[in-house]
Symmetry: C2
Subunit: 464 residues, 2 copies
């Protein structure tokens, strides 16, 4: 018998060779792929942390944020109205539907869908300086994208306008009033600017003007109370015009005219209204809150034609807050890029928003139409230059009227039925009116609709 | 000769088995590790984008941000003073050293070193709502960490104080003045609050009060001009006390006393001064700008004892800007966590800052000490409860005095020598004084020192 070394079988040779090749392949794959992962290092903890927070289940009725209160080492869920419990799965009974605030959470699903494009990783050394790369603490890329946005949507002319950033249009409201007021009244009240608006109007204009109580201006109330609206009468009026209006969603014009009109176009986007033509007024205010839904970011801008007014507003921003957070500016830029990339496409935010709010309005209108106790504002279909078609209404708010003679306090009527609304008096309108927000979460709208349906069906029952 | 199947060698068996085991190992490794990488998806583009921007080389004399102007598809470098070119490698000749602004970029290297811990990935749906999880739009975790910070450093008592957030202490300055002013003077100017400070003081207090020109208060100037400082004289004074003071770094006390004193403690941190004891005044202002160096984020806070004053300040924040950006609040929380984690350790930000600024002060003092033309403010070593030792000065600013009789305009003297400073008049001080910022980038300080050295050595030459 022969002993010692023998020749291996051919199949075995192939097996060894294949196994060896596989190992070579794995090593090179790992080297290339993981090599990159290991070399990139510093962004990973932040990315991991963010995905972990996002993955926390809140039953679809809430969400956990990176900076939510920590329990057991993890951020806790923050629940939608009427939901509670560790994972927001508990629906509270006897809980009022809250339709008070114009909190634009209806847009949250849009951003979850666009998670990858809309996330931004802020490095520890991002824009530490007071200075940004543009004048007056603004990011040049952000300014450029805002102009692109107006161009893409066609809702405002920007080429003749300077841009002023603000912490929400909230900050720009008083900055504009200040800029249109005289430089110094020197205790001569006759030159004091008189600030007015036409009811129903957004109460911030009045609240701010009275609260800051500048010597250079004075809240003068509703335009319908003015005897003489002729701007040449000598009185220096500053008029607020909100178009579409808050609370009733109607397109508005100036009543007084002249050059001291501040147009608040917060809602002049395809979400809420047909775009008739691009706005081109002297002062136009916009806010990201009502476009992307990022109310918490505090970012708005003003388009301003007059250089002197612009300079005064910029000075206001400097002395009030040294401009707007550069962190916020970065985030808004990222969001705008997503919006612009999707314009006219399947993922168009304006399409998403219009469809969502139109459905909500249609449902609510449908229920209210069978009621004689309540009515809604009349809004007509209009041609929209953005969608290139006639479109049905999709307002941000329902402006409800209590029709029964004896029901003069509509907010109380709804409150008794478990619906929190914002009373007409808050808009200098009759208390027969009250405002319902239609732009909150799906949970909020479902709760609202359900309570309205009960109310209206009780109407039919009690009339039987 | 025998043919057909044969028995493989033992070594070969081991080789096959090992190779096979390796295959199994690699497959499971790739499945676990890379599987995670592939499954996690949405945070990756943001992380990759951020690391790419951070990796752009700006020659150590600048940096590219995610929102820098794009050229050739990439963000471009933003260069330090006197540097230019695509990668900031070009040092400009005849370029003035800019020591004007208190821009705290000396802290940038600290955050680059802490890249992993200080990065934050902001999801597209992060805090879209107006509401935060605390009252008045504040993040509860951030408030908790601010109290922890004061406790860790020992520079302020917080347990008896409410906290108000502001867009920088800038916003809180006017919020505090407003809160301390009467609710409504009703055109009776005798109750108008008189706002004062003691020269040299930070000019924002005066600029803001005059600019916003509220009927409830009036800028009344330097305390040294007041005949009667007795608070019971009937006049309603609101006094600003900055301690350590800007521009001279000295610890200050109220001159007037009473309950309407606003203490601006922007610099009361171990970077700039010994911590003698925890401050415990009725109103204390702080800003993240001078702690972490994130001046661009616009974040500050006020510690307020009196409930009514707190409520008024909160109302100011609501009507001015609906609170502070929730994006910014998240970022600041992340930065505070890094700071707190490193307190008392090798990576302590206070240690880093003190050592940096102390060295700069020492170098500058050394040069100026050989000058008879210029002098600096006198600052003594003091015992610091944070470092548990006597520490040399490390002020944010040099308060330079021109000693020559004929040189009454010190800002002009330095400007002629290629140094931009902030004139004494900006602080209501004599123009014989001017302020140099010592807290900017290393490039800024090197340029400043170099120009000062030339100036002083010319002094020696011309006196020979």
């Amino acid at each position: 018998m022969e002993t010692g070394k023998t020749v291996p079988d051919l199949k075995l040779k192939l097996l060894i060779f294949s196994s060896f090749l596989l190992n070579v392949f794995f090593v090179s794959y790992i080297y290339r792929f993981i090599g990159n992962q290991i070399d990139s290092g510093w962004s990973s903890p932040a990315a991991v942390e963010a995905e972990a927070a996002a993955a926390i289940s809140c039953s679809g009725h809430g969400r956990a944020y990176l900076d939510s209160v920590i329990f057991d080492g993890n951020p806790t869920c923050e629940c939608n109205t009427c939901y509670a419990g560790k994972d927001c799965s508990l629906l509270l009974s006897n809980c009022a539907a809250d339709a008070n605030s114009g909190d634009p959470l209806f847009l949250e699903p849009y951003w979850r869908r666009n998670a990858a494009g809309s996330a931004v990783l802020v490095a520890g050394w991002h824009r530490m300086s007071y200075e940004a790369n543009g004048d007056n603490y603004i990011s040049l890329e952000l300014e450029r994208h805002l102009r692109l946005l107006h161009y893409a949507v066609g809702n405002a002319i920007t080429r003749d306008h300077f841009i002023v950033f603000g912490a929400g249009s909230t900050q720009l409201v008083n900055a504009a009033v200040h800029a249109l007021s005289p430089d110094d009244v020197n205790f001569n009240e006759s030159s004091t600017a008189l600030v007015v608006a036409t009811a129903p109007f957004y109460r911030l204009y009045k609240q701010q003007t009275k609260f800051f109580d500048s010597r250079e201006n004075l809240w003068d109330g509703d335009t319908s109370n003015l005897d003489n609206l002729n701007a040449s009468s000598g009185a220096n009026f500053i008029e607020f015009v909100t178009s579409p209006n808050n609370p009733d969603g109607k397109l508005k014009q100036s009543v007084i005219g002249g050059s001291s009109v501040i147009y608040d176009h917060a809602y002049y986007w395809p979400h809420y209204t047909a775009i008739a033509n691009p706005a081109d007024e002297d002062i136009m205010l916009f806010t990201v809150s009502k476009i992307s839904g990022h109310a918490g970011s505090r970012f708005g801008w003003a388009l301003v034609k007059d250089r002197k007014v612009y300079k005064k507003m910029v000075q206001y921003l400097l002395l009030n807050t040294f401009g707007v957070s550069r962190d916020t500016q970065l985030r808004i830029l990222k969001l705008l890029k997503v919006i612009l990339a999707e314009v006219g496409r399947e993922g168009d935010i304006f399409k998403f928003s219009y469809e969502t709010l139109n459905k909500r309005w249609a449902k609510l209108s449908n229920v209210i139409s069978s009621s004689s106790r309540f009515s809604l504002q009349k809004l007509s279909p209009l041609y929209c230059t953005y969608f290139h078609k006639i479109r049905d209404p999709s307002p941000a708010y329902a402006w409800v009227k209590c029709e029964r003679l004896e029901e003069t306090d509509c907010e109380a009527v709804l409150r008794e039925a478990g619906i929190i609304s914002r009373a007409g008096e808050a808009f200098e309108a009759e208390s027969r009116y009250t405002r319902l927000s239609l732009i909150k979460t799906k949970d909020d709208f479902d709760q609202l609709l359900s309570k309205i349906e009960s109310l209206v069906s009780n109407e039919r029952v009690s009339s039987m």
